[in-house]
């Protein structure tokens, strides 16, 4: 029994770590730019497909291929920000939101055109699972890397936002754009940073997701639904909240289904049930300030 629980917790942590990487980008973009980027899930798919091209088709080693995929992702993120979101940034937040929905559908269609509807594998190599923690848990090398790297990246991001000059400047723009501009901070610049970081994290999640579940054109959509729930659960715009929300959803899915607490057919509803419950009990999210004090 204990082995079952240990394995379920591990599965939940892997899922949670991947959701967290995607949720961080969503929450950062919301925090600084002020809208929910619905095409963020497609960045996950972009990362996975870009990695597949470098690694499987061009036969690059894993690390250079991953770095190349992240570079492609960051560049695409910067282009998307400049081409699509910068022109509408000063408008009602509804406009970039609707734009991002359109972008999401367009990017899915592009993946379908170039790669077709079939499932693709991310690597020709197969990796043997390892027994870890006193042989209680079976884990693939990519899962161990996913958990390790996501913790490093999450810690790094929090430190980056807290300690570095650019981090402080991003937080300044997030908390009050007009005042920050008065002090000579460029909003354009902040947006570029946020989209670069956000898409970079989503690409990394996409690569790991590709190792976990293979590649399909809609892989980003399923992920972004969970990431979106994690963001709302934690408090929209909060970095710690997104991370905690992501792990809560990952673990809840794994444990509730794995221990037969709820029938497995309802597993996809878990993020939403948590989300609805949270909105009823504490609508501002785990780390949110009370709405009355919140002024944008």
């Amino acid at each position: 029994m204990s082995e079952l629980v240990a394995q379920l917790i591990w599965n939940g942590l892997v899922t949670g770590a991947l959701i967290a990487l995607v949720a961080l980008g969503l929450t950062l973009i919301y925090g600084v730019a002020g809208f929910i980027q619905f095409a963020h899930g497609e960045m996950v798919a972009l990362g996975a497909y870009a990695f597949m091209i470098f690694h499987k088709l061009l036969h690059w080693e894993i690390l250079p291929a991953a770095l190349a995929a992240v570079t492609v992702g960051v560049v695409v993120g910067l282009i998307i920000e400049k081409l699509f979101f910068r022109p509408v940034r000063e408008h009602d937040p509804m406009i970039p939101l609707v734009l991002s929905i359109g972008l999401s559908i367009g990017l899915q269609a592009l993946i379908l055109i170039f790669f077709g509807p079939n499932i693709l594998t991310i690597s020709d190599r197969s990796f043997h699972s390892l027994s870890i923690f006193g042989k209680k848990i079976l884990a693939t090398p990519s899962q161990i890397w996913a958990i390790f790297l996501s913790f490093v990246l999450m810690g790094g991001l929090i430190l980056f936002l807290k300690k570095t000059k650019i981090g402080k400047y991003l937080r300044a723009v997030a908390s009050n754009r007009s005042v920050a501009e008065v002090f000579g901070m460029s909003t354009d610049h902040a947006m570029q940073w946020i989209f670069g970081i956000g898409v970079g994290l989503a690409v990394i999640a996409g690569i790991f997701l590709g190792f976990e579940q293979n590649l399909e054109p809609l892989m980003g959509v399923h992920m972004s639904v969970k990431a979106f729930s994690a963001v709302v659960l934690g408090a929209v715009g909060s970095v710690r909240g997104a991370i905690l929300g992501a792990f809560l959803i990952g673990l809840a899915e794994s444990l509730l289904v794995g221990l037969s607490i709820i029938p497995s057919g309802f597993s996809a509803a878990i993020p939403f049930v948590i989300l609805i419950g949270m909105l009823l009990v504490r609508p501002e999210g785990l780390f949110g300030r009370r709405f009355e004090n919140l002024r944008r």
């Binding site: 379920l8 081409l83 509807p117 693939t140 054109p217 794994s254 794995g258 497995s264 597993s267």
Partner: protein
């Protein structure tokens, strides 16, 4: 940058205009063309089945037209994407009936598509002719509904009989679609041992938790009941990652697509994988068609048996429409289809029963490390 964008937009618009022109120009020669509708899953995971079937149908329509068409009139299929969803499929059927005014629809591909479109086609007295759907409920879906594919009531039964002979406790991991649910239910009804069943939604692709749970149940075998090869492959991959070597059962979706199983050959070949499926006809006509498919599309034709049922469906339609000529009303086509006996298609002696069902049944196939071979028990 702006110029580039404008060029891109013009190119995209031009592409769509070109595509539209293609159909609008053929509309001007309407009297020489017999149009039928087509509904298949053309996007999403199940497009991995729908697109090859669409390719096969288009290829065969070209063959028909080269051979003189239907009494000198060209045949043409107007395709709609049913997305393997009853809702999308009923919208597609509405469009084909109201806008394109077709009186025959080839499809749907997924059972859900056929069941979703059937109420619409039935009300409008349009023939719904599926070459691939196997849900048993389609038998009673309507008077105008026909199929060349076999019903799953036989597939669930043969799989359960095999399981009864070999296993006492079987795990079942099953997708929640019209095809997979009914297959799982039929299997459950006929299996005498104990079943641990785990369902998942078509949108899910993480099965680690379900596999961990099932692995802990001390099962004799696992029945993978996915709607499409992509999901089947992910389940195999995650089974392998959890080092769980258990005898496997699966359905025709997986068993008809050797490519998917071959990707996990080393893992699967020791497990005695058994799939329910129906036999592809062994004849030179199918061989020649498969060769044409390879040449045109540059890939091995998956699902040779479904290719055959698709070709036969089209040939039966061509013969029926040709025989009826100008009298091809929906009722006349329906009556002629019911009267079809001993049709000499790829499946010899093809016939419909009183419900418009085909006379093909399922058998069992075992994976021998290279391909699926008929299992004689």
């Amino acid at each position: 940058m702006k110029k580039l964008l404008i060029v891109a937009v013009v190119l995209v618009l031009g592409f769509f205009a070109y595509k539209n022109m293609d159909t609008s120009s053929s509309k001007t020669v309407k009297s020489d063309v017999i149009r039928i509708g087509g509904i298949m899953p053309l996007t999403g995971d199940t497009a991995s089945i729908g697109v090859p079937i669409q390719n096969a149908a288009n290829l065969h329509v070209d063959e028909i037209n080269e051979a003189g068409g239907i009494d000198g009139r060209r045949m043409e299929i107007i395709w709609e994407d049913g997305k393997c969803s009853p809702g999308e499929s009923s919208r597609a059927a509405q469009k084909l009936i109201n806008v394109d005014k077709v009186s025959v629809i080839l499809g749907g591909g997924c059972s859900g598509e056929t069941l979703g479109a059937a109420p619409i086609t039935e009300k409008n007295k349009v023939i719904l002719f599926t070459p691939t759907s196997s849900n048993p409920e389609i038998t009673h879906a309507g008077d105008f509904v026909f199929r060349t594919s076999p019903s799953d009531s036989s597939q669930g039964k043969v799989l359960a009989e095999y399981a009864n002979a070999h296993f006492e406790k079987v795990g079942l991991i099953s997708e929640q679609t019209d095809y997979a649910i009914v297959l799982a239910d039929t299997f459950e009804n006929h299996f005498t041992g104990e079943i641990v069943r785990e369902d998942y939604l078509p949108s899910e692709s993480d099965f680690k938790t379900r596999i961990t749970k099932l692995k802990n149940e001390n099962l004799d075998a696992l029945f993978i009941n996915a709607q499409n090869p992509p999901k089947y492959e992910i389940i195999l991959k995650q089974l392998q990652e959890q080092n769980w070597a258990t005898p496997l059962l699966t359905n025709e979706v997986a068993g008809g697509n050797v490519e998917s199983t071959l990707k996990y050959k080393d893992f699967v070949s020791t497990l005695g994988l058994v799939a329910g499926n129906f036999v592809a006809p062994d004849n030179p006509r199918l061989d020649a068609f498969a060769q044409k498919y390879r040449e045109r599309f540059g890939e091995e034709p998956p699902y040779l048996n479904y290719m055959a049922t698709t070709v036969d469906a089209l040939d039966i339609l061509v013969k029926t429409l040709g025989d009826l000529g100008d009298n091809a009303t929906s009722e006349a086509i329906r009556d002629a289809l019911y009267a079809t006996q001993n049709f000499d298609g790829m499946y010899e002696n093809f016939a419909f029963d009183e419900n418009g069902d085909s006379n093909i049944t399922h058998s069992l196939f075992q994976f021998d490390g290279e391909k699926f071979v008929l299992l004689n028990e």
